[in-house]
């Protein structure tokens, strides 16, 4: 009897790896190759139908490799299945328009959302799924393992070791999945150095290195100019701090991007400190190094911050605050999106963020008609992880509010903070999310909902706070949402009697119920009122990019 394994080849992936390297060698393409030869290399080592992971998220971009791949010959390279955290650059969409790539699995498409929606309608692209970051990384180790990955690093040495520096971000997760399953790893670097400050990716995991003609692009995505924070945002921040942070004693948390959360960060050393909350809230964070965090760090409010990525202009500051940020022996910060997302999922007691639309079940979405935006990290942070087992006071209190004193599990606080109308009087609260229309136009199985209503614990608007944990029926939940929806159609259609009852029971709390006078919500409460204030507060260590300098 023949053993069943004798007829099959058990190292086809390794052989494929060798075959690809042999093709590159036959063209005399060296391991460290000049930028002019990159297209030849890509056409030699990538095969039609390959899964290609192109590094790029809402911050760091392997933009030179993206442009190079987009200028390959579609007769040679076609039907590629692209795996990407973020579809952000024009070259990313070119891949599909030029017929190089056919299928896409991704998380977020931000600035290319309109072009992506058109490609879907013209059937020039097949979307596998829209993921949250951690979910996409997870699939790299399951059914979406890359055949080739194209990554970005700060520097390489002669041996091919890589230094990714403060913007390490997604690189470790991508390289790990590719290098250990027979894939080809190609890195673009900004410079070659004789010795690296530290080794973030060992040379043995890297097949090719190319020095890009320009440094990789990094978007200053998390910078918010305090000068643009409004009084309404200050008011909502006061309500959140007093009515949620203090109430639950939230120590470990993540903040979504935006002016609403920037306002909270800037009220910590002033308003929150005056309430005696220093050391009692906001000590540990999974967060990018937001410049608006500087005053709270300098005031000793914050003990620790682990970062998904870095932020343009913050490198010298984070290096000089190694007690707070995770830094290497060389002194520079190391970020890691996969680990920070894990911290955001399991180790945070609260996520607070904003959205564009919310329906009467509390489902929220940033999808709007004609635009496929995706999710990024929000669905991961903004969900209650049923796998969590360790206890904290905030988690326990939320769990007991939701299920009574006999609760056998806690709850993560998932807070949505929105002004009831956005600019141009677009209502945030709606009967039906645009996501449903988008589902139809995409032919998707499910609408692209960012945060599910049953994960939301609180909604903060200028009108008050709705505590959905305390609602005991879908009808109560609906009225609690209407009760903070202000003068939107949805808000004006509230049952006033029921809403007053919810207020009596503390399910809805108005500013006055929290002891907050809206007239005192002024910008004077902000610990910094301009980018220049932030620079000053950092002792000159924060170096904002040009577009944020107006002095």
């Amino acid at each position: 009897m023949n053993p069943p394994s004798s007829s099959r080849n058990w190292d086809s992936l390794r052989q494929g790896h060798a075959r690809r390297l042999a093709r590159a060698a036959s063209l005399d393409l060296p391991r460290q190759l000049p930028a002019e030869q990159i297209v030849s290399l890509l056409e030699a080592v990538i095969e039609p139908g390959d899964r290609v992971c192109l590094e790029g998220n809402n911050q760091k971009q392997a933009d030179f490799l993206a442009e190079s791949l987009a200028s390959c010959n579609p007769a040679v390279l076609h039907d590629l299945h692209m795996l990407m955290s973020v579809l952000a650059l024009p070259s990313h969409v070119d891949l599909f328009e030029r017929g190089l790539a056919r299928k896409l699995d991704f998380s977020f498409s931000g600035p290319q959302g309109n072009r992506l929606a058109r490609l879907v309608q013209d059937r020039q692209i097949e979307i596998g799924a829209i993921h949250t970051y951690l979910e996409l990384f997870g699939r790299y180790f399951m059914d979406l393992t890359p055949n080739v990955c194209l990554i970005a690093a700060q520097a390489a040495d002669a041996a091919g070791n890589l230094y990714t520096g403060p913007n390490t971000e997604d690189t470790p997760a991508i390289v790990e999945a590719t290098a250990f399953k027979g894939g080809i790893v190609i890195a673009q670097v900004n410079e070659l150095r004789e010795s690296l400050p530290r080794v973030d990716v060992p040379a043995g995991w890297v097949d090719f290195v190319v020095v890009a003609p320009h440094p990789n692009y990094i978007e200053p995505l998390f910078t918010r100019d305090p000068a643009q924070i409004t009084e309404v945002q200050v008011l909502m921040a006061m309500m959140a701090i007093k009515g949620i942070y203090a109430e639950y004693g939230v120590k470990r948390l993540n903040h979504g991007i935006g002016f609403d959360t920037a306002a909270i960060e800037l009220l910590l050393p002033t308003y929150a400190a005056d309430l005696g909350l220093k050391g009692k809230i906001c000590t540990h964070w999974a967060l990018n190094p937001h410049p608006t965090l500087i005053p709270a760090i300098e005031a000793g409010f914050i003990e620790s911050v682990h970062c998904f990525g870095s932020e343009v202009g913050m490198d010298a500051y984070t290096a000089a605050r190694s007690d707070v940020f995770f830094t290497g022996a060389d002194g520079s910060m190391r970020s890691n999106r996969a680990f920070s997302q894990t911290a955001g999922l399991y180790a945070c007691d609260m996520f607070i963020g904003s959205t564009l639309q919310m329906d009467l079940a509390g489902n929220s979405s940033t999808a709007t008609l004609g635009r496929i935006a995706g999710f990024g990290g929000a669905p991961n942070m903004g969900s209650d992880p049923h796998g969590r087992r360790h206890v904290s006071p905030a988690w326990l209190k939320a769990g007991r509010e939701a299920s009574g004193s006999g609760a056998i599990r806690g709850r993560k606080l998932v807070v949505q903070m929105v002004e009831t109308f956005r600019e141009h009087m677009a209502p945030v609260f709606v009967d039906r999310l645009d996501a449903w229309a988008l589902q139809e136009s995409m032919g998707a199985e499910l609408p692209p909902i960012m945060i599910y209503g049953d994960d939301v614990s609180h909604i903060v608007t200028e009108e008050g706070i709705a505590n959905l944990l305390l609602c005991r029926s879908p009808e109560e939940r609906e009225q609690a949402i209407r009760g903070v929806a202000g003068f939107t159609k949805v808000g004006m259609a509230r049952d006033k009697r029921v809403v007053e009852n919810l207020r009596d029971r503390g399910i809805i709390r108005r500013p006055a119920d929290l002891g907050i006078d809206p007239r005192l919500a002024t910008r004077d409460l902000l610990a910094a009122r301009s980018i220049k204030d932030l620079v000053r507060c950092s002792g000159g260590l924060y170096a904002p990019p040009g577009r944020f300098r107006n002095w």
Partner: protein
């Protein structure tokens, strides 16, 4: 540009000798002027707004304001550049406080 005129019953406030001015005319913001009106039980409001077609929302915001504040006996003028209801409510509160503050 749209012009709107409203009158709301409201609890009489104190008569103040001053004219209160609050806010600025800028994108997403508004300017509110409060001075003494002719009828002690009425809050009379004139609005000039750059955003057309939101009369119903203005009426709802101002009804709520007149119900919950002693705005009787005031004459209010608003120059609006697309402020959201949240900003309008906040500014109305600030403007009335400033107006009544001097009367106390």
């Amino acid at each position: 540009m749209e012009k709107l005129e409203f009158k709301f019953p409201s609890q009489p406030g104190k008569i103040s000798p001053i004219t209160a001015l609050c806010g600025v005319v800028g994108s997403g913001n508004l300017e509110i002027l409060v001075r003494t009106g002719s009828d002690a039980d009425v809050c009379e409001v004139s609005i000039k707004t750059s955003a057309r077609g939101f009369g119903e929302i203005w009426q709802a915001v101002l009804t709520d304001f007149a119900e919950h504040n002693p705005a009787g006996g005031t004459r209010i003028f608003i120059n609006d550049m697309g402020a959201t209801p949240a900003v309008v409510s906040l500014r109305l509160g600030q403007a009335l406080t400033e107006y009544l503050g001097v009367a106390q």
